[in-house]
């Protein structure tokens, strides 16, 4: 039943999500039915890791703070670390957001930064480790048994289960977050500037009131480009990083021993370099989120 492991199947296995969705026959996670799912399908693996890492963020930041805060006590090391994160985010909010006070911005920036950082860090887990583990667990629990006909029909072996562990290499995740930011941009533009001023900003801008359609098209492109570039930047960087890890892993499995040894060295080098990308992309996403929301709060006329 296990198809021959080729370079192509290895790569595509790593780039396919565990997708559950609605088909004409009902809800299923069968990878062979993905084509029939349409829009109402969910990347269960991405969402699982996203929620899991978000929960880790919430729990760590909640647990590290003492239940009852006593200003006389010396802060613990975990508390210090968390306060360092908060101060880092606060500094950025201060410098990018400036004077206008919005109590949502700093928590938003903190959540976005830590959460994306955690999701990006999943990239540093060796590419085969979690997918293979998940495949074996799924096969052991729900594997199809030809003799009895029990289990889930499409889990014919550990490799039947697709499982991506880096949520930020899924454009749905990054664009989903960018979409959340986009909603906030629209909301605050409406509330702070007022609908009229917001509309004026979109229509009266580069060329004055005689070319409103042109202005609207130009400004709309500018406006829509914000969330899309925000989401795709993160996705592209992490996807490329993941891709290179997969290619390096290929050197280990499908080549001669010397190339395999070189692969180890390359993996180390790329992992070290990738730490930079992981932190940088999380920071960029946070900084741009703050900057876009700051723009939504600007009330002065251009």
């Amino acid at each position: 039943m296990a198809s021959e492991l080729t370079t192509e199947s290895y790569i595509s296995h790593h780039l396919t999500n565990l997708t559950c969705g609605k088909t004409p026959d009902g809800w299923t996670c069968n990878p062979y039915m993905v084509d029939q799912m349409g829009f109402w399908a969910f990347h269960v693996d991405s969402l699982l890791w996203s929620v899991l890492l978000g929960s880790i963020f919430v729990l760590v930041f909640k647990m590290a703070m003492p239940k009852k805060i006593d200003p006389n006590s010396v802060p613990t090391k975990a508390q210090n670390f968390i306060e360092m994160c908060i101060e880092f985010v606060d500094d950025n909010v201060q410098s990018l957001f400036g004077s206008s006070k919005n109590p949502l911005i700093a928590p938003l920036a903190l959540t976005v930064f830590v959460w994306i950082l955690l999701m990006n860090l999943m990239d540093l887990v060796p590419v085969d480790f979690l997918p293979v583990l998940a495949g074996h667990i799924a096969y052991a629990l729900f594997g199809f048994n030809e003799a009895t006909g029990g289990g889930v029909e499409w889990i014919k072996g550990p490799e039947s289960l697709y499982f991506k562990v880096v949520p930020t290499t899924d454009p749905n995740i990054t664009l989903g977050m960018a979409f959340g930011v986009f909603v906030l941009i629209i909301y605050y533009s409406m509330v702070v500037k007022g609908p009229k001023a917001f509309l004026a900003e979109l229509t009266l801008h580069p060329f004055g009131k005689w070319l409103i359609p042109v202005n609207f098209i130009l400004e709309m492109v500018n406006f829509i480009a914000k969330p899309i570039s925000l989401g795709l930047r993160l996705f592209g960087n992490l996807y490329a990083g993941e891709m290179i890890f997969i290619l390096i892993a290929l050197m280990l499995f499908f080549s001669s021993i010397p190339v395999g040894i070189m692969g180890f060295g390359l993996h180390l080098v790329w992992a070290l370099f990738h730490i930079l990308i992981v932190a940088l992309q999380a920071f960029i996403f946070m900084a741009l989120t703050i900057a876009y929301l700051a723009m939504a709060h600007e009330t002065e006329e251009h």
Partner: protein
């Protein structure tokens, strides 16, 4: 790369996490940080105040010490003066006493000497009278030669 409902689900998840952070995570941490910041700045201020008052206390202490020193010196001077006065007084008193004693002693000696001399003279005159009486016997009577004898005793 296919876009599907995951996007909406992720947006919802994000809103939930941001709301949790905004409502439950962020405020207590920031409150704790601000409270500690205030505590530390209060502490620093108190330390500065304590430093200042220490400086003040030091100055006051030095002033007091100087005063005490000068007072002590004054007392010492007074005591020295008094002591030397007492010594002087005692010395002069003793001198006077000694003189007095000397004077009385010399008076006594003189008196004794005079007394002894008087006695001697008396005895001498008696002896002379006796002797002269024995020598002259009848020729000279006490009554007749009283004047001569007296003169002789005076000459002695």
């Amino acid at each position: 790369m296919n876009i599907n409902a995951t996007l909406i689900a992720q947006a919802v998840v994000m809103i939930v996490f941001v709301a949790i952070c905004w409502r439950y995570i962020y405020p207590p941490i920031v409150a704790a940080m601000q409270e500690r910041q205030k505590k530390i700045s209060d502490g620093l201020e108190a330390a500065k105040k304590a430093d200042d008052s220490l400086e003040e206390a030091k100055l006051a202490y030095e002033k007091e010490l100087d005063q005490a020193k000068s007072e002590a010196a004054a007392i010492l001077d007074k005591a020295n003066a008094r002591a030397s006065q007492i010594v002087n007084d005692a010395t002069s008193k003793a001198d006077v006493e000694a003189e007095k004693i000397m004077a009385s002693a010399s008076t006594t000696i003189e008196n004794e000497t005079n007394k002894a001399r008087e006695e001697l003279r008396q005895q001498m005159s008696d002896i002379i009278i006796d002797t002269t009486q024995k020598i002259l016997d009848d020729e000279i009577s006490n009554e007749k030669h009283e004047a001569i004898l007296k003169k002789a005793a005076q000459e002695l």
